[in-house]
Point group: C2
Chain length 117, copies 2
């Protein structure tokens, strides 16, 4: 957790842009469930303070090279202006509402947080 | 492969925006090697036709929740205007040069390709 870091390290990281990428694996994959989750992301997760890029998509089945990780159904791509904006997003009521409303759709979530350079 | 799809499906997918996300796990993780790979991405992979978003970053160590996948060092985020642009990028000489020059740095690559909605 950022708050456990020494102040200097925390301050440096908190001013950097952050990419927050989430891959959802559905409990019951179907076009209808993919569409529900995509709509949930658009309804609750776009438009938050500090978002500089928002995208939501579905696994592209035509890409199936050995290097492709295909164990997901829906991908959420968010880039925040700073780490502080992503921290505020995590506890925002709209984000909480998204989890409450959509969590029954997925069985696995993988999150990749990276500081952009 | 897209070319193996029926024409109608291939045509639909090829006109859609595509997010192409790559996570590199380094053979020898170090600040120097992370910096080399980040610079390689910037030098060879930005500026290709049809790129609507380019970002490259490093694993953000302060995010270590259970849902965080931390088995990577460098993250590359590319969004292409269409699938056709990403297909052209894959075989572009600058992309080939990137792989030749940087492949010694990583031991694992995971790619997530998704059609944006």
């Amino acid at each position: 957790m950022a708050d456990e870091l020494p102040n200097s390290a925390a301050d440096t990281s908190k001013s950097a842009p952050l990419a927050h990428i989430v891959f959802f694996t559905l409990a019951e994959p179907s076009d209808a469930n993919r569409a529900k989750l995509v709509e949930g992301c658009k309804k609750y997760l776009d438009g938050h303070d500090g978002i500089v890029y928002f995208g939501v998509g579905v696994n592209a089945p035509e890409y199936a090279r050995d290097v492709n990780d295909r164990d997901y159904d829906v991908a959420l791509h968010l880039v925040f202006e700073t780490v502080r904006h992503q921290d505020a997003y995590q506890t925002h009521p709209r984000h909480v509402k998204f989890v409450e409303e959509c969590k029954g759709l997925w069985k696995k979530v993988r999150v990749f947080d990276s500081r952009l350079k």
